[in-house]
Amino acid sequence: MIHTNKFGLTAVVLSMVLAGCSSAPTDESTDIEDTSVQTGQVDTSAIDDSAMDAATAADTVFYFDYDKALLKPESRAALLEHAASLNSSPRSVRLEGHADERGTREYNMALGERRANAVKEFLVLQGVSAGLIEVISYGEERAASYGSNDGAWSMNRRVELK
């Protein structure tokens, strides 16, 4: 039996060969099917990487406690500045939520989103149009600080306003 795929590679399913031509009697035999792996291609042309100039000089990174999505009091001042700036000259912003490496990856995706949503809700309460704010979670996939220690982890539990 011969299979031919669209690349013209021939995957041969070898047929059984009869017993009798070897010294040992064969109880049964097995044939190997070819399952070579091909590489796929990503299209990253859709990514807009152009960083926008921050409209204010206020901090754009907001940190969180472990396993928490509550805004810290020290984040308020900078967020109020961003809200005022966005209210006076509206533009689209992106809130990127992150988690530290502890725990499972998809749960951390959800945790990163929860943090970014906490920042979004604060801005919306200050009058910023929700339609201007996009929330993206990167979970633990984009660490800001490398290392498996409390210092690195505290830098990674964050939301970045872009």
Partner: protein, 421 residues
């Protein structure tokens, strides 16, 4: 036992296996070098078989240097010589060309104690399939001696992340279960996550951020053709292929918070399965195709829940500890591997769905992504060695362990394939 086995050869080959703990009473096997009868091949089939069996932790091997002879057929075996070495089972075999670039390998498993042939088997393939032949031999021997189907002919999918010239490069790779023959499936400057095998082993679903946002893709291993399945606002994550291959469970947060959805891959229709303001994520199918397990923090901390897909009724399964997440079900349908937090470290634990018993299996501290082999003997997971992400494996009874660190960079998110033949 500390073994260092170099098993890689292709351009992307990066995994090296180190067995760190084996069974206390391993079965002693000797694999006589396969007689090649003048055939030139680069693989040493006998060594691959030996490494497979040793990696299972259930076997130890007689080194070649101790062998008094290298028989290739049962009729040439002097059982007394092998008994003196303590051999319990002996593997002998010989290869012969059968034309058109094909080769057949006849091998026998001999019971040295009973002085009898357990079975004779013939495998055949091309020169590019010599590793497949070797793993198939290992599967047959393992099954005959342990009664458990061998999983040496299976594959792993996993993600690597490397910083190259200051920028991250994420790669989705597929290799043999022993880490050899690594093949690149996808390379991207944006994160790749959560690979999930189709039940036929011919496709993978995964999350890619290549559009600037997370989206779920499916990709055929052989043709490399790929298709974007989701493009919703918010999370698009945690794909899990149903046992019949027709549906996919996944996570969307387009409703405001993460919910479990089911995508019908034929009609492309999404149906929502959970409705709760908490985090619901990491769905995985039960073998009946009628229930899902998932992680939810609806009780205040992440725990494993069971969901009836038809009635959408949920039931909490785990109660011990304040963090139980990312369940992976063993093929017995009864044993779960999950991530359990105990005094601020994250271990892989097994959880018995019938008795409710939870047992920590690992001693590493930042464990993630457990995935059980299709024969249920071992599970693989991701953890850290120093600051580097590595893959490690442990048997479900915690008696056997090995690690597969990448030569450079981080390796993570292993997904063990189903049986491929």
């Amino acid at each position: 036992m500390l073994l260092l086995l170099m098993l890689s050869s292709s351009a992307w080959s990066e995994l090296v296996i180190r067995v760190t703990q084996g069974n206390d009473k391993p079965t002693i096997v000797a694999v006589s070098p396969i007689a090649l009868n003048g055939i030139q091949i680069k693989e040493d089939i006998g060594s691959i078989v030996e490494a497979d069996l040793k990696r299972s932790g259930l076997f130890s091997a007689i080194p070649r240097r101790d062998m008094l002879a290298f028989p290739s057929a049962a009729k040439d075996v002097y059982y007394r010589d092998w008994r003196m070495l303590g051999t319990e089972y002996l593997v002998v075999g010989a290869m012969a060309p059968v034309g058109e670039g094909r080769y057949q390998l006849d091998f026998s498993l001999l019971n040295v104690t009973a002085q009898k042939t357990e079975f004779n088997h013939r495998v055949s393939g091309t020169k590019s399939q010599m590793r497949d032949l070797a793993h198939l031999i290992s599967d047959k021997i393992y099954q005959e001696i342990t009664g458990i189907r061998g999983a040496f002919s299976t594959r792993l999918a996993y993600v690597t992340a490397n910083r190259e010239n200051g920028a991250y490069v994420y790669r989705l790779n597929v290799s043999d279960a022993d880490g050899a023959r690594e093949k690149l499936m996808l390379e991207s400057p944006e994160p790749i996550m959560s690979p999930s095998w189709a039940p036929n082993g011919k496709e993978l679903a995964y999350v890619s951020f290549e559009t600037g946002r997370p989206a779920i893709f499916r990709q055929n291993l052989v043709t490399a053709s790929r298709q974007q399945l989701t493009n919703f606002t918010g999370l698009n994550g945690a794909p899990s292929w149903s046992p019949d291959g027709k549906k996919m469970a996944l996570v969307l947060s387009k409703d405001g918070n993460p919910e479990i959805y089911m995508l019908d891959l034929q009609s492309n229709k999404f149906s929502r399965l959970t409705r709760h303001f908490a985090i619901d994520t990491e769905p995985t199918w039960m073998p009946d195709g009628k229930h899902l397990l998932f992680t939810s923090d609806r009780g205040g901390t992440p725990q494993i829940y069971k969901l009836n897909v038809a009635s959408k009724a949920t039931q909490r399964l785990t109660f011990r500890g304040n963090y139980n997440a990312r369940a992976s079900l063993a093929p017995d349908g009864r044993t779960l591997a999950l991530i359990h937090r105990a005094s601020s470290t994250f271990h892989v634990a097994s959880f018995d769905l019938v008795t409710g018993r939870l047992i920590e299996l690992t001693e590493t501290r930042l464990d993630e992504s457990p995935t059980v082999a299709p024969n249920g003997a071992m599970l693989m997971y991701a953890t850290k060695q120093g600051d580097r992400g590595v893959l490690a494996a442990v048997s479900l009874d915690a008696g056997v362990r090995y690690v597969l660190p990448a030569k450079s960079g981080d390796v993570r998110e292993p997904a063990w394939s189903p049986f491929l033949r």
